[in-house]
């Protein structure tokens, strides 16, 4: 049960679905950490603290027991963990990695995780990104930072160990979450989703 004082930027939005074809929902407050450091240096600590040493290949993830390690760059991983476990994990990592060149930053509130599921989920996403999201090309476990709509974000196909039941997860900076939410609803219209209006998009108040 998460802290009732917290508010996601998508607070007030509820799951939108067009049945089998596509469903869009938020995975609120998933814990997210940026972990920088050479993969070899950090692997033992990772294994110890998350149950996985991280993916072997670029643009992949590894998950175990609801904790996932996503490859973001050659010396950058994201840890995606159950809500409100991130602070402790960050602390543990820092102490476990003391002396090793590394850097841990909590970005839980920076990124909002929006999940997409359904037979047409990839077609919905394809309307927003030039990256190849076809299930054959972007297989379960894969990760990609890319362009989404007029912004940027990270796409992820969580594997079973992640304990996330969406086919795709889009991480988007929180100030753009509402923009993306509405864009996804628009993209899902073809499959029966209803359009949503951006918060603050209804009227523009000018000073004059």
């Amino acid at each position: 049960m998460s802290d009732a004082r917290r508010r996601s930027p998508l607070h007030g939005r509820s799951e939108i679905s067009s049945g089998e074809a596509a469903t869009v929902r938020e995975h609120a407050f998933l814990g997210k950490l940026v972990l920088r450091g050479a993969p070899g240096d950090i692997a033992p600590a990772l294994r110890e603290l998350t149950g996985t040493a991280g993916p072997e290949d670029a643009c992949r993830s590894a998950s175990s027991n609801g904790r996932s390690v996503l490859w973001i760059g050659p010396d950058e991983h994201w840890l995606v963990v159950p809500a409100e476990t991130e602070i402790e994990l960050a602390r543990d990592l820092d102490s476990r990695l003391a002396g090793v060149r590394h850097h841990v930053v909590d970005v839980t509130d920076y990124h909002v995780a929006i999940g997409l599921s359904g037979t047409k989920a990839w077609e919905v996403l394809a309307k927003l990104t030039p990256f190849d999201v076809h299930p054959k090309a972007f297989a379960v476990g894969a990760v990609a930072g890319t362009v989404i709509g007029r912004g940027q974000g990270v796409l992820w196909r969580p594997a079973e160990g992640s304990a996330l039941d969406s086919d795709y997860i889009v991480f988007i900076r929180s100030s753009m979450a509402d923009y993306l939410w509405c864009l996804l609803a628009e993209a899902g219209r073809q499959f029966g989703m209803t359009p949503e209006t951006p918060i603050g998009g209804e009227t523009w108040r000018l000073a004059r």
């Binding site: 670029a58 643009c59 973001i72 760059g73 050659p74 950058e76 030039p130 990256f131 990609a144 930072g145 890319t146 362009v147 940027q152 974000g153």
Partner: protein, 125 residues
């Protein structure tokens, strides 16, 4: 729309990248000793070749790493991608016969849209 091969993430759409201009320009360590002319050269002057150009790209939407590329600016064909700090590899390119001219294929500009008799058919790569 280019396909850019990030040395870390692989082939991606150009939209994910930011172009960083000329590569292999090392910031001088002795700026205070430099003349206005030398300093001005470093800050402002740029190679701007029609032909093989070593340039930098930033995988802004992806891994956020900077890296280098060789591209033929006469045709926009990428010839190589390589990490920061590495020297440019040797490459071959379809270059213009004259400094300001057009590459025999690939620029799509004037004068090279039609083959001359005797020019052999096929594909270039």
């Amino acid at each position: 729309m280019f396909v850019i091969t990030c040395p870390y993430c692989g082939e991606r759409d150009q939209a994910e990248f930011v172009s960083g201009g000329q590569a292999h320009r090392t910031r001088p360590l002795n700026a205070h000793e430099m003349s206005d002319a030398d300093w001005g050269d470093w800050v402002f002057m740029r190679d701007n070749p029609k032909g093989i150009f070593a340039e930098r790209w930033f995988h802004s939407a992806g891994c956020r790493r900077w890296f280098n590329a060789l591209r033929n600016t006469a045709t926009d064909q990428f010839l190589a991608f390589y990490p920061m700090g590495e020297a440019p590899p040797a490459v071959e390119a379809v270059l213009p016969a004259t400094p300001a001219g057009e590459a025999p294929i690939g620029s799509g500009n004037d004068a090279v849209k039609v083959m001359r008799p005797g020019e052999s058919e096929g594909t270039t790569t």
